[in-house]
Amino acid sequence: METPKQNHIDKNDFDHVYEPAEDSYLLIDALEKDLQYLKSKNPTFCLEVGSGSGIVITAFGMAFPKTVCFSTDINFKACSMSKSTALQNKVMLETINMDLGSCFIGNKFDVILFNPPYVVTDSDECGSCDITASWAGGIKGREVTDRMLDLIPKILTVDGTFYLLLIEDNIPNEVISIMADYGFNSDIVIKRRVRNECQLVVKFFQDKNI
């Protein structure tokens, strides 16, 4: 997969919007690794939740020109940056300033991507609409992620796939078991050690054949 151009972005804007980092690229690498699987699914609609700069969903859109791409972010400045990143790379992207995917009607998305705020923090740090929202994850770094898990069965299509980035502190096995209770299988697509942090991307899906 190609890396989207980012030279349209004014560096100062990264004071307000999450700057693409190792985690962003790990999610892109996970999609690249799963490209054949995704191509065979031929997705109609893809949603990235918390798209920040828009780099991940734009990379997806470049690789899947026949998929309609959507993104949300709780931070308006991130929404506007996502939109411009897509435009600069000639990807059609619809962006909504929304909490996770809470305002979508039922079961439309074939692919959902999420690189959440995963850093373990106090609960009260979590839930802002500014740059803090890009990393503050509350207890276990999972407060935002767990709310998203609950939404997945409501907005993903039955044969859809959800890609989620986690760090070891988030206790991935707990996430996998929450999703198993919702009827989802899981697979670790990619894992990487970044400084002192182990990052991984897990995919969740309901169909039996991978």
Partner: protein, 125 residues
Amino acid sequence: MKLITHNMLTSKCLKGVITGYPLAITATVVKVSEVEYNPEFISRIIPKLDWEVLWKAADSIGHNEGLPPTIDPKFEDNEEFLRKAHKVLLEVEVEEGYLTCPESGRQFPITKGIPNMLLTEAEVQ
């Protein structure tokens, strides 16, 4: 915001709202930008949409582009239909305006083409 997005948005996350669908559109600025026409792409999207909601939304902002209110069962072979659907779904964009919840009347502003669907804590279900 393109009308394809409007087709998928609800305000049912508001406390006391049951379906919150479809949202009414008030458009103060509408832009029509050219998007490459791909019949295969558009044919694939159409069955996944609520056509009546799309038609009424397009009509309400003065851009029904002569589309029929109901879909022809053999629409895939009808190029004229597909071109109009392409325009309404992908080329017409609401740049400024707002969406209104059909049950509560709550308004959601659209700024620079981005709808703001954020709620205050007191408003959430």
